[in-house]
């Protein structure tokens, strides 16, 4: 927590974030078929990770903070994964509403 990052690091991260924003917008104009959304999400996740690690300083923080930060996303995966697991398997049995 007492770690102090250099201004240069912050400017670098900032530059990367802006660049990535431009890339997302550009890539959205290219037809990647089914891949457009995953790519956009991957870039967003990358940007978010940069913010979390450097701007929010998780990289220099205690393991506990890391676990806490990760747990939110883990629980999101539980919510999304299991719920979608229901919807995606609904048609399997072939009787409506089962």
């Amino acid at each position: 927590m007492s770690h102090i990052s250099s201004k240069g690091l912050y400017y670098t991260i900032f530059g990367t974030l802006i660049a990535m924003t431009v890339v997302t917008v550009a890539i959205a104009r290219i037809d990647l078929g089914a891949l457009n959304t995953p790519v956009a999400l991957a870039i967003a996740a990358f940007k978010a990770t940069l913010v979390i690690l450097f701007f929010m300083g998780v990289k220099y923080n205690t393991p506990l903070t890391k676990v806490v930060a990760a747990s939110g996303f883990l629980w999101l995966i539980i919510l999304f994964g299991i719920t979608m697991g229901d919807y995606l398997t609904r048609a399997w049995i072939g009787f409506p509403g089962r």
Partner: protein, 328 residues
């Protein structure tokens, strides 16, 4: 009907006694543990009661062996319950192929029933015994739930889609129907009766019932009345796809997805046609939300299901029916 102070429900369907068996199994396991632990606690509390104010207990910290034992045994028993319950559930979820079909629509606060032969009833359901009955459930407004305790079956009626349940009555008699999903003011009044009858009684009842045509006939009439026919012609010249053979086929959608055309797909195609556009067609079909009641919808679906693919079906491997871009 029932005695005035029953303690156990009648078992009047083919699955009822199987459900009861699982019930008794879990009851036995539970009673065993409940009695074991309660008895132990009370026994210890008496046996080891404190005799002087300064007394303390023995120096016991735990035992890995015991922990394992009482983790593994409940776990194994719980798995037995799971597999047994799952097996029953799968049987309850899959209507046999030879089932006769009945449509039931829940609406605040009544059950509207329509037999394939066209006979309709409200809050009652006449069924023959020893025949598999498949119920397709719809709802006009909110969630309801069709529950027949004597048959041990229950299924939610969900607005916006169709659901299925089935049973085979085994004992002639009159049994309760309850709405088991809370649906507003008269929820507890949304009740009725199943009348399970011998086969010949049932036939007689059917013959005596007033009908305005079978479900399929009604569907066909609606198909003309609602002008579906103007777009869905009997050949491929219409602005909409040919509906013959669509049920059960795999439909190619404009956005690249493929879906199997089951009842819920047909339902959605009529109520919310923009949601899934068939490849090769324009999204011009109007929505029939609000125009077509849930019952009429079931009739339309019954009718569309009878439309068989044209006799000159394409040979295997050949492209889908000519002029039917979306069909596979």
């Amino acid at each position: 009907m029932q005695s005035s102070f029953p303690l156990f429900p009648e078992a009047a369907s083919s699955i009822a006694s199987d459900v009861d068996l699982l019930y008794f199994f879990i009851l036995a396991v539970s009673s065993f543990f409940a009695i074991l632990v309660s008895a132990a606690v009370v026994y210890f509390a008496i046996k080891y009661r404190r005799r002087h104010p300064d007394e303390v207990g023995h120096d016991i910290h735990g035992s890995i062996v015991l922990e394992l034992v009482w983790t593994v045994i409940p776990f194994v028993l719980a798995m037995v319950m799971f597999f047994w319950g799952a097996d029953l559930y799968f049987r309850l979820a899959r209507p046999p192929a030879d089932s006769m079909e009945v449509f039931v629509v829940g609406k605040q606060w009544m059950w509207k029933v329509q037999h394939p032969e066209g006979v309709r009833e409200i809050n009652e359901l006449h069924v023959p015994i020893n025949r598999n009955v498949r119920i397709t459930l719809g709802s006009e407004d909110v969630l309801h739930d069709y529950y027949i305790p004597a048959f041990r079956v229950k299924m939610d009626a969900v607005p916006g889609k169709l659901t299925t349940m089935w049973f085979k009555a085994t004992k002639a008699g009159t049994y309760h129907i309850f709405c088991a999903e809370y649906c507003g003011t008269q929820h507890s009044g949304m009740i009725g009766q199943v009348i399970a009858m011998e086969e010949h009684d049932y036939e007689a009842w059917l013959a005596g019932g007033r009908t305005t045509g079978t479900a399929v006939e009604n569907g066909e009439r609606l198909f003309t009345q609602l002008a579906c026919i103007t777009c869905h012609k009997t050949d491929t010249s219409g602005r909409g796809p040919l509906l013959a053979g669509v049920f059960g086929s795999t439909v190619q959608l404009m956005d690249g997805r493929k879906v199997v055309a089951d009842e819920n797909y047909l339902r959605e195609s009529i109520m919310n046609p923009q949601a899934k556009i068939v490849l090769g067609y324009q999204p011009i079909m109007p929505t029939f939300q609000g125009t077509v009641s849930e019952e009429n919808l079931l009739q339309l679906i019954a009718y569309i299901k009878t439309l068989k693919a044209p006799a000159a079906a394409p040979a295997a491997g050949a492209p889908a029916a000519a002029g039917q871009p979306g069909r596979q």
